[in-house]
Symmetry: C2
Subunit: 236 residues, 2 copies
Amino acid sequence: MRYELYYWTGIQGRGEFVRLALENARASYTDVARIEGDQAIMPFLRGEHAGALPFAPPFLRAGRLLIAQTANILAFLAPRHGLIPASSASQIYAMQLQQTITDIVAEAHDTHHPIAVEQYYEQQRAEARKRSASFCAQRIPKYLGYFEQVLERGDGHHAIGRRHSYVDLSLFQLMSGLDYAFPNAMKGLRRRTARLRALRDRVADRPNIAAYLASERRIPFNEDGIFRHYPELDES
Amino acid sequence: MRYELYYWTGIQGRGEFVRLALENARASYTDVARIEGDQAIMPFLRGEHAGALPFAPPFLRAGRLLIAQTANILAFLAPRHGLIPASSASQIYAMQLQQTITDIVAEAHDTHHPIAVEQYYEQQRAEARKRSASFCAQRIPKYLGYFEQVLERGDGHHAIGRRHSYVDLSLFQLMSGLDYAFPNAMKGLRRRTARLRALRDRVADRPNIAAYLASERRIPFNEDGIFRHYPELDES
């Protein structure tokens, strides 16, 4: 099956979690807006297509299905591409972990937009400093401590089972994004995130992922995305 | 099967979405912390039980399974209790909608905690006013406009299919919470949310739900929960 992925151009954003799963599987897909422009997304948001109505990108077309919400897209793709064990207990746990990644990603976004998503960062800079201070001191350690514990309870190297699942790909992306946005805060957590760092390196070395990361398909992190490096928001 | 639900006492919070599904089904469940106290939750968060590790409540024990994340719990319960059609397309769409409800619930929480979840509302009151202004003017209309459109694209009365699904129960809770927290803002949207209001009323009239809402098991909305009524955060 050839998939169509719809996501805003120019940023990794939430679409990147889907791209990583597709690239890992060498699935056949078109990243539609990168060819046709962001306007290709709009008819779907206006409800001009049949089927599920997306609130926002990313969304995926797979045959007659249209699927939105990152964790939901991943749960759909994973069993089709060897990215999750077959047992329902594994799939339920993976969805739980992925939804927890969704939560920290939303909080990472709000470090630079704590007041209003429709306003610029520059209009909420003072509040962004305060929110980021809490995010770095409290929330990153809490979430990453949790995911470290998840790895420990597994085989030490994978979130679920004994092979890489889509959750591991997403943890790679989470760690990469936090390292980009908050290098100082993440440096301070290095010893407490040893398993996550090893996981991130192992995922980056997977042949299909390494090829993707080296390609032009991987958009660099930048200050339009979710993980933004504003030095004033990082720990000093 | 007898379920065990774990959620903080004293608030509806995210646990309420699960309670509504259980109550609608007249499922047999124990709301454990309301009997044993919040300390019953802690051993699970410390990882002292086998199986899935929850990041936070609510979580549900169902036989040997432990399941966390509200949308994930609901997706597990729904097919067992007639709360979702059998088709995978319906279940995927329901999960997408429920995850979008998760998103607005998180934003509703952040109206009173825009800076730091570990600090009191009183410590972030000025920022809360700004965030709430954006939430009322931009975010509530955007989300509720979306869910109105979802109902229109369906049979006009249900989010999915032609019977109430768990998504409808959650939309009831969302509307109830927003009405409690932001009565003025919601009054201004009355004409644009006619289908959601009718849905909320129909869900409230379902016999099992009506019995639950009239019981002591339904904790009143209050200013410790997610939906808090602070008049200074509502539109005037």
